[in-house]
Symmetry: C2
Subunit: 97 residues, 2 copies
């Protein structure tokens, strides 16, 4: 499997509604992008200090399938309309496992 992991922090002015919309809109992608094998997103549980605020973990059969997801217009639309407007910082890794 090939896994994509990305963690976000949000800008200080990000509203609860904007944060929730990221989860809602990303959650629609597995129905649209059939290359996605597993998809789990969520807000940080608040257990540890200093954490990022939101996680996306997406699994694919191959690097090629991940690239289809990465560049898919539906994914790019969520990034442009919901993530970038409230993004403060981003950390990502893709890895085979």
């Amino acid at each position: 499997m090939f896994r994509h992991v990305v963690l976000f922090t949000w800008a200080e002015g990000a509203t609860d509604e904007q944060r929730a919309a990221v989860a809602t809109e990303l959650g629609k992608l597995p129905e649209i992008i059939t290359e996605i094998r597993s998809y789990a997103v969520g807000a940080d549980a608040g257990v540890n200090p200093g954490n990022h605020e939101f996680a996306v973990v997406a699994d694919f059969d191959s690097l090629d399938d991940y690239l289809i997801y990465r560049d898919h217009p539906a994914h790019q639309a969520v990034i442009a309309e919901h993530i970038k407007p409230i993004l403060a910082s981003r950390a990502a890794v893709q890895y085979a496992f």
Copy 2:
């Protein structure tokens, strides 16, 4: 399920041997810490610029089981002996899914 995600970057002087040891030593933990339900670690595939360098994704039945992992002496030993000596930065999220 309760998921722990952490991404690392390594110090510039970190050797290939030191980086590999992190994966090897973390990979021993599922045999020791039986609360771990799923565990997948790996080095970044180099597909995208600006990424972090190493990922850990660990799944548990509950927050309480994650806390057992977090505080387990075997896990803390890997952090102290193999991760902290080469750590440059760290991004983490824990979330329910």
